[in-house]
């Protein structure tokens, strides 16, 4: 082998090692820009809360200071922060997702019929069926008669989805801020599956947005209240 060949061979070893190292490194997560998305159901949800005096709100999303200020100062709410996404993330990282339904059984300490409004955001897009059933059952338990539940349900199945913080900009606009926890979405729920999941509630309003997301507002009928 010529001297030049030796040098290039020697360098190529480094080059190949470098490539392997690069492959081993975690791919930097692409931070998507924050979007302002109009919401039709949010307006109705907020209008409903405004009618109640000192309502109680359960937010299953991660803690967002702006939302607490909005609901707390403008509506005088008492807000429970659930942050089920953090639990979901933790269980996935620890490879303990089969244990998630049992854990979720303990995550709703609220009294039955004690909550006026529930913000689910897009939580059910990320839950497997057993976990979704547990959460839905508890939400129906804690929701007051005439109470409202607000959720998003995707209609398409992207290869990869990130958790999103939904920040209330005003009564009819939400800022979507993705954050860098990659996670595969499960199969998209059909309308009938969603209705079946929340069998005790009735669909008050349903909107298909330009972003191909269904916004659904559920209400708990009066007749389901305890005698």
């Amino acid at each position: 082998m010529s001297g030049f060949g030796k040098v290039t061979g020697f360098l190529s070893r480094f080059a190949s090692r470098r490539t392997a190292e690069e492959e081993a490194e975690p791919v930097p997560t692409r931070i998507e820009p924050e979007l302002v998305v109009p919401s039709k159901a949010l307006k109705k949800f907020v209008a409903f809360l405004r009618m109640r005096t000192s309502p109680t709100l359960l937010d299953l999303g991660s803690v967002v200071g702006a939302n607490i200020e909005y609901f707390g100062e403008q509506l005088g709410c008492r807000i429970f922060i659930g942050d089920i996404f953090a639990d979901l993330d933790r269980f996935q990282r620890d490879h303990k997702l089969p244990e998630l339904p049992a854990f979720l059984e303990t995550r709703f300490p609220q009294e039955p019929e004690s909550v006026d409004g529930i913000l689910c955001w897009d939580l059910f897009d990320f839950l497997d069926k057993p976990s979704a059933c547990v959460v839905a059952e508890h939400l129906m338990r804690v929701l007051r008669p005439n109470g409202a539940l607000f959720g998003f349900f995707a209609t398409s199945h992207p290869a990869e989805a990130r958790f999103t913080k939904f920040i209330v900009a005003d009564d009819s606009n939400l800022r979507h801020r993705p954050y860098s926890t990659p996670r595969m979405r499960r199969a998209v729920m059909q309308n009938r599956d969603i209705i079946k999941l929340f069998e005790g509630l009735r669909v008050s309003d349903s909107f298909l947005l330009h972003t191909n997301v269904r916004e659904i507002l559920f209400r708990r009928p009066d007749y389901l209240s305890k005698p």
Partner: protein, 182 residues
């Protein structure tokens, strides 16, 4: 005959300028305006600091602003003053104060008559009752926030307030255990 050295005069009410090399900040100005100096003196006088190595178990009452960098377990009551939980502060207590600023960790309920402010590295596990709550991006919080507007009773007779303690007072839990971390 003997002229007293200016440097050894008592410095009551005046701050001794510290050289930049001692403060650790190269850009620390030696000469300060009288306004800033006065404010610093006021702050130094009014804020009590519980240092990193201090562990308090029991009840803590006071009538001045307090910064906690150590650990407190039990109850903290600073009804008309500001409580700051510093970045190293670890609190496992019920907290009552006018305003609470959290940069460290709090496990327990917080009741503030004015505001609760959780900074980006702050953690709170418990329920918050306050008319204003600010939670920064990145802060960790688990519990409930109650900002309900309490109706004011216009003709209600004003209850006689108990006399506030004059200074910081620590009521140790039985058995008393105020000490330093090992």
């Amino acid at each position: 005959m003997w002229k007293r050295d200016e440097n050894v005069r008592p410095t009551a009410g005046r701050e001794v300028p510290v050289p930049a090399s001692q403060t650790g900040s190269p850009a620390a100005p030696v000469a300060r305006g009288p306004e800033l100096e006065g404010r610093r003196q006021m702050d130094a006088k009014d804020v009590v600091n519980i240092g990193k190595s201090i562990v308090v178990k029991g009840e803590l009452f006071g009538s001045e602003d307090l910064t906690i960098e150590g650990q407190v377990e039990g109850k903290i009551e600073l009804k008309d003053h500001v409580l700051t939980i510093g970045p190293h502060g670890r609190i496992k207590a019920e907290v009552f104060a006018k305003a609470v600023v959290v940069l460290g960790e709090v496990r327990g309920n917080i009741i503030a008559s004015e505001k609760v402010d959780i900074h980006d590295n702050g953690t709170v596990e418990g329920n918050i009752v306050a008319p204003r709550v600010a939670i920064a991006e990145g802060a960790q919080f688990r519990g409930s926030v109650d900002m309900q507007r309490k109706p004011e009773a216009p003709n209600a007779p004003e209850a006689k307030k108990p006399e506030a303690p004059k200074a910081l007072e620590i009521k140790p839990a039985a058995p008393a255990s105020v000490g330093t971390k090992s």
